[in-house]
């Protein structure tokens, strides 16, 4: 596998800064806002966005964690054996929810996340923030906030690494060498 970097730590920081501002601009502040991170790297990104927003607005936006392993439609098709924690510190009913994940690909994870969230209440609105959109959607789902668009081929893999989990901030594309 040949790997090449497409975002370095500064690129990721700038993308998240812009996305944080876009979320604030679109929602006109932080009232009724909740950021929901999808396990695992979406949670890390959710905390970073919340921290950014607190810097600009002076107030915290609550962060919830959501694991979608129990809601996937492909139970046996992938090895996703570990179920990470789900926790909603605040009620999402009638709130504006910003779902956060690292990569938007087929859209199935987002569909599962919206299904999973239903069990916790009916938000007023759900928006989607993504660090990297790589295309190839299989469902009619799109992101409201995008860190970076990268056209990819189906043979390629996208690897998002974040300091809190992987010890380094970067996005890389892995290509099979024939």
């Amino acid at each position: 596998m040949a790997e090449h970097q497409i975002m370095n730590p500064d690129d990721i920081r700038r993308a998240l800064t812009r996305v944080s501002h876009e979320i604030l601009e679109h929602n006109r502040g932080i009232e009724d806002l909740i950021i929901v991170g999808i396990q695992t790297r979406g949670v890390t990104l959710a905390h970073r966005l919340s921290k950014n927003i607190e810097e600009y607005e002076g107030n915290q936006v609550p962060v919830a964690e959501l694991d979608i392993s129990l809601h996937r439609d492909d139970l046996q098709h992938r090895s996703r054996p570990m179920i990470k924690p789900t926790s909603f510190p605040v009620d999402i009913r009638d709130k504006k929810v910003v779902l956060v994940d690292d990569v938007l690909y087929t859209g199935r994870t987002i569909r599962a996340a919206m299904d999973a969230m239903n069990d916790f209440g009916r938000p007023q609105q759900v928006q989607l923030a993504i660090l990297l959109d790589r295309g190839h959607r299989e469902l009619p789902i799109r992101a409201d906030y995008i860190g970076k668009n990268i056209p990819t081929s189906l043979e390629e893999q996208v690897k998002v690494r974040l300091t809190e989990i992987d010890g380094v901030d970067e996005v890389a594309i892995l290509r099979r060498e024939d």
């Binding site: 090895s79 996703r80 570990m82």
Partner: protein, 348 residues
């Protein structure tokens, strides 16, 4: 990404290593073939399942379209009901089957019953049987079904052991180095047998106490038949409960069946109560935050005093709650095993 067959594949239990995270296994027969890392993963998933049970809507679609049959050849309240609840919370279709009222009464063999259920498209078979090894036997002969042992004879009760491990870990943080005391009729207890494997594998120090007639005597001999470094070689035996309980982190009392007196294991119930009942005064010698456990059903006033069973140190009711979560984690674990239940796509 291709997911190849596990490199080390134990045809007997279906256990193999994939991704270094959670072993993918077809069956759960006992804890003796679990790696410590696999037990740790099941306990982590149990924690996530417990969160699901605390929600307003206790239902996730994970096992939608899967059929779980509980096949119980022995009486049971908590194990059967908690498997049924676990399956239903995960959206599986759960069918309960007992020996009475079924073709078993007409003399149908265990194997034919299993083959019949397999032919009906059952995905997971939860089996309780009075004969040790019955679930293993079914696992060997049923290729399209996952078998989970819900208690077989005097052999094993792995789901009980996992819920016990989880309960202790939740209260005391880590299992490593804990002193776990199991008191009573160890000889006839599949709960104790599986618990010994589980606690020993996770690095706890297990001590057994009870009348000499009701302890596995092999373990009385220091460095007995077990090879050097075997995890059960660390299990200690002490017939004196007052001495054994000193410094214990966990005290697990086992059910004492009254038949044991009739069959000559005990001189009298009164003597058993005097020497081996877990009481508040005895618990005073254990660690201050020691947990009192019992797999149920209890004989209050025999192996455990009533006040202790319902007192502040008791986690006996929590064990029942955690039993549902632990069984959800195990149903999930066997369901992600690739290649069974008509899912060849899994191995692409």
């Amino acid at each position: 990404m291709s997911l190849s067959h596990p490199a080390t594949f134990d045809a007997y239990s279906g256990a193999g290593q994939v991704n270094g995270e959670l072993n993918l296994r077809q069956h759960v027969l006992d804890l003796d073939d679990f790696l410590p890392s696999e037990i740790a993963s099941v306990l982590e998933n149990t924690r996530s399942m417990k969160e699901v049970l605390k929600r307003d809507i206790k239902k996730v679609p994970t096992l939608r379209g899967r059929v779980v049959v509980t096949l119980f050849y022995e009486a049971s309240t908590r194990t059967r009901i908690s498997f049924e609840e676990a399956g239903k919370v995960l959206s599986a279709d759960v069918i309960n089957m007992g020996a009475s009222g079924s073709s078993v009464e007409k003399g149908e063999s265990l194997l034919n019953t299993g083959l019949t259920l397999q032919a009906m498209g059952v995905d997971i078979l939860v089996v309780r049987h009075p004969h040790a090894g019955a679930p293993n036997f079914l696992a060997r002969h049923l290729t399209k079904v996952s078998v989970i042992n819900a208690g077989d004879g005097l052999h094993a009760h792995p789901t009980q052991a996992l819920l016990d491990l989880f309960t202790v870990q939740e209260h005391l943080g880590s299992l490593e180095g804990l002193k776990v005391l199991i008191v009573g009729d160890v000889l006839h207890s599949r709960v104790a047998r599986s618990a010994m494997w589980g606690f020993a594998k996770m690095g706890a120090n297990v001590t057994l106490s009870g009348p000499g007639t009701l302890l596995p005597l092999d373990l009385l001999r220091p460095n007995g038949h077990l090879p050097e470094g075997h995890c059960l070689a660390s299990v200690k035996v002490d017939t004196n409960l007052d001495r054994a309980i000193v410094g214990a982190d966990v005290v697990m009392a086992l059910r004492l069946q009254s038949e044991r007196q009739v069959s000559g294991y005990l001189p009298s119930m009164r003597e058993y109560i005097r020497r081996w009942q877990v009481t508040e005064s005895r618990l005073a010698s254990a660690k201050p935050n020691a947990l009192v456990m019992h797999p149920g059903p209890m004989n209050e006033g025999i192996e455990i005093s009533s006040s202790l069973a319902h007192g502040g140190s008791s986690v006996i009711e929590e064990q029942v709650t955690n039993g549902v979560a632990a069984r959800m984690a195990l149903l999930y674990q066997v369901s992600i095993f690739p290649g069974v239940n008509g899912s060849p796509k899994a191995l692409e």
